[in-house]
Every structure is written in C-alpha cells, then in structure tokens.
C-alpha cells in the first residue's frame, strides 16, 4: 500500500499547495511533477514510475487527457481517468453523453460555420451565449443580446486561426448565476453559488465572481448523482444552472479549481481529496 502521489501540472497554485500540505495526514507523499517535461510514451519510462497514483491537475485542456492516456498505458492509476477527462474537456461530447442518459443539459446548437450560426440564431431565442467547445475559465464565452451584435461577433470567430478554435456552441442564456458542486469520489463535498460580480456578466471564479453559500438540497444531489453515475467516481467540479424546470448541467471540470468553493463553504476540500486518494490506493 504505497502512498506516493504525483500532481501533474505546470505549476503549484493554491489548490496544489493544499493537496501537498494535507497529504501526510492521509499517509500520502504528494509531489509536483512538471506536466511540460514528462516526455511520456515509453511504457517503461521513469518519469512517473515511482508514483503510486497520478493526479492530473494540468490547467491545459490539451495536456490533461493526453498525459492521462499515457500514464494509464504505463499502468499507473490516474485521477481522473483519461476517458473522463476526454469526456469533460469537450463540452459537446459531455452534453451528448449526459443527454443520452437523461441528465438535463441546456438546449444548444453546434456551430461550425456562418450557416450554422444563422440557423442557431433563428431557432433559439435571444439572449444567447456563444461558447467554444474546447476552453474554459470563461474565455471567449460571449453573451449575445441581439442579432446585429451576434453577426459581428461571429466575424471574430471566423478570424480565429483554426477550425478547432472555431467550433462553438450556441445556447440560451440562463441567467442568475450557477451552482458549483465539488464532487470527490461519488459524493458532493462542497457547494457554492457563483454569480457575476457586477463588472462582468460571467461568473467564473477565474474571472472574479461573487460566491455565496448554497444549501445542498435534494434536486442538486439528484442531478449530481446522475452525472457521477455516468462518469464514475472521481474529482469533479460540476456546474449547474437553475431553470424553471429544475437544474441543468452546464459543464463538468475534470481538474477543478476549488479555492472559491472551499473558502465559501468552509469545507477542507484538499483533505477530502486526500482521503479519496487513500481509498483508491487501498
């Protein structure tokens, strides 16, 4: 029963420092491993061989899934798994997965071209949100209040260098903030409401939002359980929007920042992760 944990990331931020500091309380020796210098591929490579488990904490959505795949190929347990990371990093793939399982998600249209965009504007009521399929931290997520602005905004999307970056979702704007649920294993360990701070309509913690305590009620537990049922146990930041018909799942972060939720809720999320890692290791 080893306890050596690699945190794979490009740097140690608040969350990683918490995980490193709390590790010994759970019999874990947690170390940072630079995600840009692993050169994985050889199944017998030394880079991660000495670790009993790898925690993927890359901020880069390019790196996380790729590194998880190769760490698994080298027979090292990885949290979250490559399959889960690859499902979560692609907003469309995740929505398809959840919708097929009957888990409510926002209505959306896939936009790959100006033609798609025009059709999406015709089919969905304003205000709308345009967001990249690959991306996070609220970057390029745009609130479209009217058709004139929308068409000009799409000019900028067309100017992006690669089709990969141009792939977007258009969806109805579901205002009123979101509920962020931190899941460790299969349980919700902390929740918080994220709302705009008044200077930016977006409510991502990375942008600077207002956070408040939110009661973990039965509808929240029910929808989060349904997500975990599809993804399996892991470490997730599940983002919910409230609608007139109940909650819908906006997205799931596979390497969630948890500073805002931990501070707001008063929950020691790093210790919860430490306990879970210990459980996974046996």
């Amino acid at each position: 029963m080893g306890g050596k944990v690699a945190i794979v990331a490009d740097r140690v931020s608040w969350e990683e420092r918490q995980l490193i500091d709390r590790g010994p309380e759970h019999g874990l020796e947690v170390e940072w491993v630079n995600d840009e210098a692993l050169c994985l591929g050889d199944e017998d490579a030394d880079a991660l061989k000495s670790y009993d488990v790898v925690l993927i904490r890359s901020r880069s959505y390019t790196r996380g899934g790729l590194l998880a795949s190769l760490a698994e190929a080298a027979r090292i347990p990885v949290l979250n798994t490559a399959a889960v990371i690859q499902a979560c990093e692609n907003k469309l793939a995740l929505r398809v997965l959840l919708r097929r399982a009957g888990v409510p998600v926002p209505d959306f249209r896939l936009v790959l071209s100006r033609q798609d965009f025009r059709k999406a504007l015709a089919e969905l009521p304003f205000p709308l949100v345009l967001k990249p399929i690959f991306g996070g931290m609220g970057k390029r997520v745009t609130l479209l209040r009217d058709p004139d602005t929308a068409n000009s905004v799409y000019d900028y999307v067309e100017d992006l260098g690669h089709a990969f970056e141009q792939a977007c979702l258009v969806e109805p704007f579901l205002g009123g903030g979101s509920v962020r649920c931190l899941v460790v294993g299969r349980e919700i360990v902390a929740t918080a409401r994220f709302e705009s701070n008044g200077t930016d309509w977006r409510n991502n913690a990375a942008i600077g939002s207002h956070h408040s305590v939110v009661e973990r009620d039965a509808p929240i537990t029910r929808i989060v359980d349904a997500v975990v049922e599809q993804l399996g146990g892991g470490i997730y930041g599940i983002d919910l929007f409230r609608t007139g018909d109940g909650y819908v799942v906006n997205e799931v972060n596979h390497a969630p920042g948890f500073r805002a939720v931990a501070t707001t809720s008063g929950v020691d999320v790093a210790s919860a992760i430490g306990r879970y890692v210990r459980e996974v290791l046996g």
Partner: protein, 60 residues
C-alpha cells in the same frame, strides 16, 4: 526565524529573496514583473524559470 531563500530573476537578473517556497510555486519578479516558477531549490538557492501567466488552452 524563517530561513529565506535566494535567487535571481533569469530575465532581468534582479537578486530575489523569499520565504520558503516549494518546487512548482510561482512568484512575480518585483523588477520586471515576469512570473517565475521555482524549478529547484538547491542549498537555499532558487532555480527559477520564466513561465507564462496564461496559456491559450487553459481551461480547467
């Protein structure tokens, strides 16, 4: 008394002195304001590398 660590900014060569830091943590150079990551700590000396504040594919 906290033992301070010493280093120099790899960009502007400004001498730096910090409270204990671990590998992977970052700091700003007070002179050129670049973000520096601690790649190693050798006998109380920081080995620092300039890193991006943000990359285009950051998303989690």
């Amino acid at each position: 008394m906290t033992q301070m660590l010493a280093g120099a900014c790899p960009e502007c060569e400004t001498p730096l002195s910090t409270p204990p830091m671990i590998q992977g943590e970052t700091m700003s150079c007070p002179e050129c304001l670049l973000t520096l990551r601690v790649d190693e700590v050798q006998d109380g000396t920081l080995v620092l590398q300039v890193v991006e504040v943000q990359l285009r594919d950051w998303g989690q």
